[in-house]
Amino acid sequence: MLLELNRDEILRYSRHLLIPEVGLEGQRKLKNSSALIVGTGGLGSPVALYLAAAGIGRIGLVDYDVVDSSNLQRQVIHGTSTVGKLKVDSARDKLVDLNPDIQVDVYNEPFTSENALRIARDFDIILDGTDNFPTRYLTNDVAVFLGKPNVYASIYRFDGQASVFYAKEGPCYRCLFPEPPPPGLVPSCAEGGVLGVLPGTMGTIQATEALKVLLGIGEPLIGKLLLYNALDMTFDFVKLKKNPNCRVCGPNADIKELIDYEEFCGVPSHDHEEGSAGANWDITATELAERVKTNHLKLVDVREPHELEISRLPDATNIPLGQLAARLSELDSAEEMVIFCKSGGRSARGLELLVSAGFKKVKNLKGGINAWAKEVDTNLPVY
């Protein structure tokens, strides 16, 4: 039996009740439905806000992170006043303020193979607002195993993709992408970055699709992939079919339970030690500051040229990571060298490249120029 709407709810949702496709019955369906949002970041923010506003009766939020000021350019569910708070708490407070009639369940933990089925089991629909391949494959497999729709969106700079992966009625994420990119081949990832409004657009599309699926109206993006480019303002649609060889939803599927997704993708899904090349290869910003007082060290900055406008170390040679392999001849392997980037991830990769090419006297600045800006030269901005 569907719960009825009370007097206040009828007023709150009156603009929904006026649409015949929603109406009183549809709004009651929403009140009686539940949605799990994996990630309360750029995508999760608009998803959660709009689903809460729409009156989804129970919303689950999974995130283990805390709000950072660098999130606020796109993660609009959080605010300056919640910097430093747990993201799930910050998000819950906003949702409850927006709509006190709904129930918000928070899971302040990474979404992993150990807890994912338990968390997702009692929700009607799953929304993928994650930011990494291991958690995307995990979210997909959880949705397949539990027979639930997985409303997907993904973003990169100015590009967005969205679909509804629902193995009961169409393809799953693995049907389209059987394997993640091998580590190091994530195209152009070194530069990173995303237009702040892009996850707003894509997350709002996810929320739209979730409402359509829960209401049973319209044509959800099942078997279709939406491709959006903000720079060109283009929307392309392509058709997706079930992959007969899909390892989780195909007729001969061999993956029957959740696996180790970090191993599968070859990358960590959650913060382990960021910006480190390993203890033997790292130098901290403080150590480097001491060393440069007495020794000559070659500093190699592998960031993109536009990042140098934000912060730079004097006398550093700039060779963007993507060009490093082709410009090794500019470096002298006999010289002591410290390689750095923004926070140590790209330079760790650069270091491995140098070491494979025979460089031995090279260290990675742990935590990158941001660590230098925090520990040594506080006049430099952190970004």
Partner: protein, 117 residues
């Protein structure tokens, strides 16, 4: 001439071009033309065996070439081809997911050196 749409993550290998005109009667011709025009894109869409990588899909119009005749699919003037790579999302993941494949970069370097000699 068919037009191949290049997604943002791969545009750094096509001099920033969002669309590239490609010639040929089949998908395989078009891809050869693409990698002739822009050689550095090759390892990002093909594996060492010359097959499309599993995280890259190629569509002709609305259809995945996997659902057609693969690289043997015929194409004609005015066809719109779209390369669709998997993207993970977010922004921090880029720093986090970068783990090296230096051998790959060095292989590329050696190949480039050979071809420039």
């Amino acid at each position: 001439m068919p037009v191949l749409r290049i997604p943002t993550p791969l545009r750094s290998y096509t001099s920033g071009q969002s669309e590239v005109n490609v010639s040929g009667l089949k998908i395989s011709d078009a891809l050869t033309d693409l990698t002739t025009q822009y050689p550095t894109i090759k390892p990002h869409i093909f594996n060492d065996g010359g097959e499309l990588r599993p995280f890259v899909n190629l569509f002709v119009g609305e259809h995945n070439i996997k659902d057609l005749q693969g690289v043997e699919t015929t194409i004609k003037d005015g066809d719109r081809l779209i390369l669709i790579p998997s993207i993970a999302g977010g922004s921090r993941h880029c720093e986090r997911t970068l783990r090296s494949n230096p051998q790959h970069d060095l292989r590329l370097l050696r190949r480039n050196k050979r071809s420039s000699q």
